[in-house]
Chain length 563, copies 2
C-alpha cells in the first residue's frame, strides 16, 4: 500500500494544525500544505499588538516558541510536511482527486493528487463599495503585510489622524493599537452599536469607555474616501460630515472564501460558509473543510453560524487532520461563540447567547445584570459588569457577557464551561471556585451573578435595566426613585434623575418619606445594587407592591449622570 | 403569630452570611448573632496581605465596600440584625430551645430563645504540644489580634529572624507576608512535602520555587521552643538542629470547634466536624451548622471532609440562613475542595482529587502533566504546569492541580466548573474558551492539557513523570535519553542525566544515532515535551516499541539540573 496523500489548502491557522495532527497520526503520509502568501502559520491575532508596540520583534509572529521561523524548511525538517508557500490552488478536480496550483512568484503551474483534501481557505475582509476605496492610505489589518504597513506608520510617526471603519473586534483592537502610536482616532460604525455580538446595553458601556480615549461615531457609514494626488486626505460620512485623515483602516467583517469549494461542487450553507458535519467533512467524503471558510453549528440554537475565531480554527483543524488519516473518529461538535477583546484597560467578552440572539431564537429567558468587583477592595479589586441569561423553564444558562477593568477572561471562561456543560443557574449558585483574596471575592463575581439571577427567577425581586428606566423617564412615568447610598457617596457621584437619597441604614426609620400609596412604583438602587436589593426587600415587606431594583446600580448606568 | 427567632452562634464569615440571608428572607424575624471576639465579619483571609503590606488601612478588613465598619451599629441599622459581640455562648439547651451566653467584657450573663439556631463556631488553630509554647513571640495568624501583632512587627522592623511552622496555605501566605517585611525566614514542615492537598511532585515544584526566597525544611517538626526571660530566642527541631529566631508563627492546621454542639448532643462525624445534611441541618431539625465547624460531602468520593474555606463558609451560610426561615428549600450539595494560594510571583491551586486522593479512594485513573505558557510569547506569556487526572473508564475529569507564574486562577476555575459538572476529557478537548492573545494561547493551556491526556488515554504515547524517571536513573536502568531541543537551548540549560541531543528537526536524518534494538527504552523530551511528543511519534513509527515521553519536559523537572 502506498502512503496516504493529504493536501491542505491554506497555511494560516486551521491548515497547519490539520497538517501537524495528520502527521502525528501517520508518520508516512505525504502531506502538502498550499499557502497563497509567503508566510505560514502566522499568529495573525497578534497583529494589532505588534502594531501597537506591545512587542517589537516581528519574527515573534512567525516563530515557534523555541524561536524557529515556521518556513517551508522548518515544516519539512521538524514535521516532514511539504509547505508550498506563495502558491495558489486554482482548482479542485474532484473527479480525479487532484488540485491544480500555480506558484505566484515563478508562474509555474502543476497538478497534485490527494487521497484526502482539507480546505482551509479562510476569509477575506469586506470592503465598503464606495468611491476612493483604492486611494493610498486605506488598508485592512488582515495580513502580515498590513501589519508591517501599520507598524511602519507607528515607528515613523508620520500620521496624525486616522479613522477606523467598523466597531467589531478587529476594529477596536486596531483602534487601540493606533491610539498607542499617538494617532488621533475616530471610530465609525454603521450600526447603532459597537461589537454587535453584545447586547446594546453592554456595547453602550464599552462605547462610553472608548469615548474617554478616542472619537466614536455610530449609526453612520462611509460615503466616500476623499483623495488628493492618489492619497487619502479624508472620509466623507453618510450624513455628510467630512473627517480629515491620512489613514483609514477598514474592519467591517470578513466573508468566508468559498469560491474554490463552490466551483468544485462543495456545498455551502445558509450562513455562507462551507457546510461540514461534526467530523468537519464536506458533502464530498474525501474533502474536509476547517477554519474561517466553514460554517459550524451553534450548540445552543442548533443553527449554523460563521465563527471565524483562531481558537476554533485550531480545534477544527485538529479534528480534520486526524479524520483525514484515521477515518471519521474525531468530532468537533460546534461552538457556543465565545469571544473576548482587550480594550485599553478594559476587556469585554461573551459566551453563549446575547439577549438579542436569545430573543431571535425564541427562548423564554430571564436575565440579570451584576456589577461587582473581581477581588476585595483591599487587594485592589476592579469592577466587572456581567449580564447573564438563563432559560426560564429549565434554568439552563444561555449566555453571559462581561466587561470592565476586572478579570473578564476568567469570568467568561467560567461561564463558557458552564454553558457548554449545560449547567443551570442552580448549579452555579454553589460552584466551588478557587478563592483567595489575591484572586477573587469570597463569593466570586460569577457566583454572585448566579445568586442574583436565582433570586430574580424565584421572584425575590423585580429588576429594571438602565435602558428600561431611561425609557420610563423619557415617557415621564411617575416613580419614586430611591438612592440607598451614603451622603458622601451621593456627593461624589449621582444620577440626577429626580432620586431621593435615603441611606439603607436609615431606611427603616425614614419609611414615612416614601409614598403613602403602597402601589406606587419605586425604583431602588445603590452603587452596584446590593444595598438597593436590601432596600427593595424591606419595602416589599412594608407592603409596597411595585418595587423594582435598578440592576447593576450606578455602575451599570449607561447614560449621562448629573455628577 | 409572633416573629421568628433566629440565633446564630459565630460572627466571622458563615454566621453573618446566614444572618443576612435570613433577614432578606424575612424582614420581621428577630435575628441575633453572638460573636466571641470584638470584630464582626472580618475578611480573615486578608490578614496575610495586611501583614505583608499589600495595603495599610486595617479598617479595610472590617468594612463594607462602601467603607462602613461592620460593627453592631451597622448590623442594626443596615440589616436589622442584633449583633452581640464580645459575647460567648456557653451552652445550647435544646430541651427548651434556648442558649446561655456571657458578655466577656461586662461578665453579664443571660439566656435567649430561638426557633432556629445556626451554629457557626468556626475552627481553632492546632498548636504543637511542646515545651515553650507559651513564650512571647509565638503566635498564629487566625485573629485580627494576630494580624495586628504581626503587622506591628512589620512596621517596627524590630525582628530579624522568624520561623513559620507548617507548610500549608496559611503557613505559606504568612511566609510571604513576613518575607516582604524584610525578615529572614525558615519554613518548617513535619511531613515530607508542603501543601499536602497537592501531590508530592507538584508540591516539590512549589518547594523548589519557595527555596529561591526563603529556607525550607521538610520532614522535621518542632521539638521545643527555646526562650530567654520569657521571650522566644530559637526553635529546636526534632532532628536536634536549633534555629535562632525571635518570632514563630504556628500554622499547622485547624480543628473544628464542636465542643458546644457536642455538649448539646449534636452529632459530629468521622472527619471531626458537625454532621449536616444537604440543607446544612444537624441531627436536631431546629439546628443548622455552617462553616469551618462542619464536615461536608466531597462530591467525587462521597466521603465527608473538613473543608475550612472562606468561600464555602459563605455559600453554606446562605443556604442555612434561607432554610432557617423558609424550611428546607435551599441545598448545599458539597465540595470538590477547590483551593488556591498566592506564593510570591507564583500561584498554586487544586480542584477535585489529587493523585494521592484518587489512589486512596480506589479510582482507576490516567494522569498527565502539561507544561506550557498561559499566553503567547509575544504577549509575555508565563509558564503553567498542570497535572490532570481522569477516570480511565468513563473519562470523567477527577481533578487538576496547577502552578506557576502564569494565570493559575483561571485554569483552576475552568477545571473546577468542569469537575463539578462531571465533564469528561473528551468534553474539554473542544472547549470553547475566550481567546485573544492578551488572555490565552489559541489553544488554551487547559484545552492543551485535555488534548495531551486524551492522546495518552488513547494510547498515542506512553508518559513517564520526572519522579518515575528519577527512580529509574537511581536504579541504573539502561535507557536512551533523547533531548529534542536546539543546540542553543541545550547550551542554556540541560538535565545532565546522560541525555543525547538530537533536535527534532534533525531526527528523521539521524535515526542511525538511536539504539539498533527496537525494544530499547527511549525517553524523549524537550522544554515542555511538545517536540518530545513529535519525536516519540516518529520513533514509534520507526518501529521502536518502548518510547516514553517525559511529561512536562524540562519545565516540570523537579530535581537538580546540570545547567
Amino acid at each position: 500500500m502506498s502512503n496516504k496523500k493529504i493536501i491542505i489548502i491554506g497555511g494560516s491557522a486551521a491548515g497547519p494544525k490539520a497538517a501537524a495532527r495528520a502527521r502525528r497520526m501517520d508518520e508516512f503520509a505525504e502531506i502538502t500544505v498550499f499557502q497563497k502568501s509567503n508566510e505560514l502559520s502566522m499568529a495573525s491575532c497578534g497583529y494589532p499588538y505588534y502594531v501597537g508596540g506591545f512587542f517589537d520583534d516581528r519574527n515573534k509572529l512567525l516563530c515557534t516558541p523555541a524561536g524557529v521561523v515556521r518556513d517551508p524548511v522548518f515544516y519539512w525538517n521538524a514535521k516532514g510536511i511539504m509547505a508550498k508557500n506563495n502558491t495558489e490552488v486554482l482548482k479542485i478536480v474532484r473527479e480525479n482527486k487532484t488540485i491544480e496550483y500555480k506558484n505566484l512568484l515563478t508562474g509555474e503551474t502543476g497538478t497534485q493528487q490527494y487521497d484526502k483534501l482539507i480546505i482551509a481557505t479562510g476569509a477575506s475582509a469586506n470592503m465598503p463599495p464606495v468611491r476612493g476605496i483604492d486611494l493610498k492610505g486605506i488598508t485592512t489589518l488582515q495580513s502580515m503585510q498590513d501589519a508591517d504597513f501599520l507598524r511602519k506608520i507607528r515607528d515613523e510617526r508620520t500620521i496624525r489622524k486616522a479613522i477606523v471603519i467598523g466597531g467589531g473586534l478587529i476594529g477596536i483592537e486596531t483602534l487601540e493599537a493606533l491610539h498607542l502610536a499617538g494617532i488621533e482616532l475616530t471610530l465609525v460604525e454603521l450600526l447603532p452599536q459597537l461589537l454587535t455580538f453584545l447586547d446594546w446595553d453592554m456595547a453602550k458601556l464599552v462605547e462610553n469607555y472608548l469615548k474617554t480615549k478616542t472619537n466614536v461615531i455610530t449609526k453612520n457609514g462611509v460615503a466616500e474616501f476623499i483623495g488628493e494626488y492618489g492619497n487619502l486626505v479624508g472620509v466623507k460620512l453618510q450624513n455628510g460630515i467630512e473627517i480629515p485623515c491620512e489613514l483609514a483602516v477598514v474592519a467591517i467583517g470578513v466573508r468566508p472564501n468559498v469560491r474554490l469549494a463552490k466551483e468544485a461542487g462543495i456545498e455551502t450553507g445558509a450562513a455562507g460558509g462551507i457546510k461540514v458535519n461534526e467530523y468537519m467533512q464536506t458533502n464530498d467524503p474525501d474533502i474536509y473543510a476547517v477554519g474561517d471558510c466553514c460554517e459550524i453549528k451553534n450548540l445552543i440554537t442548533g443553527k449554523n453560524v460563521l465563527a471565524p475565531y483562531g481558537d476554533l480554527a485550531n480545534l477544527e483543524g485538529r479534528v480534520a487532520g486526524e479524520n483525514a488519516i484515521c477515518g471519521n473518529v474525531a468530532t468537533f461538535p460546534g461552538t457556543i461563540q465565545t469571544g473576548i477583546c482587550k480594550i485599553f484597560d478594559y476587556a469585554v467578552g461573551i459566551t453563549g447567547l446575547s439577549e438579542t440572539k436569545a430573543k431571535e431564537n425564541g427562548f423564554d429567558y430571564e436575565k440579570v445584570i451584576n456589577a461587582s468587583p473581581d477581588k476585595p477592595g483591599f487587594m485592589n479589586g476592579k469592577l466587572l459588569i456581567t449580564k447573564i441569561l438563563a432559560d426560564k423553564k429549565t434554568g439552563k444558562i444561555l449566555g453571559a457577557q462581561c466587561l470592565g477593568p476586572g478579570d473578564v477572561s476568567k469570568q467568561i471562561a467560567i461561564w463558557a464551561v458552564a454553558v457548554k456543560a449545560g449547567l443551570t443557574i442552580d448549579d452555579m449558585v454553589n460552584a466551588d471556585l478557587p478563592y483567595a483574596p489575591p484572586f477573587s471575592l469570597a463569593i466570586d463575581h460569577s457566583i454572585a451573578g448566579a445568586h442574583i439571577l436565582q433570586n430574580k427567577m424565584r421572584g425575590f425581586f423585580n429588576g429594571i435595566s438602565a435602558m428600561e428606566l431611561k425609557e420610563k423617564l423619557e415617557r415621564g412615568d411617575k416613580m419614586f426613585i430611591l438612592d440607598t447610598r451614603g451622603p458622601d457617596e451621593y456627593e461624589q457621584t449621582r444620577l440626577g434623575i429626580g432620586e431621593h437619597l435615603i441611606p439603607l441604614g436609615a431606611l427603616r426609620k425614614r419609611l414615612n418619606e416614601l409614598p403613602e400609596d403602597k402601589n406606587a412604583e419605586i425604583i431602588a438602587y445603590c452603587k452596584i445594587s446590593l444595598r438597593g436589593y436590601e432596600a427593595a426587600v424591606i419595602l416589599k415587606a412594608q407592603g409596597y407592591k411595585n418595587v423594582k431594583l435598578l440592576e447593576g446600580g450606578i455602575s451599570a448606568w449607561l447614560y449621562n449622570k448629573e455628577k
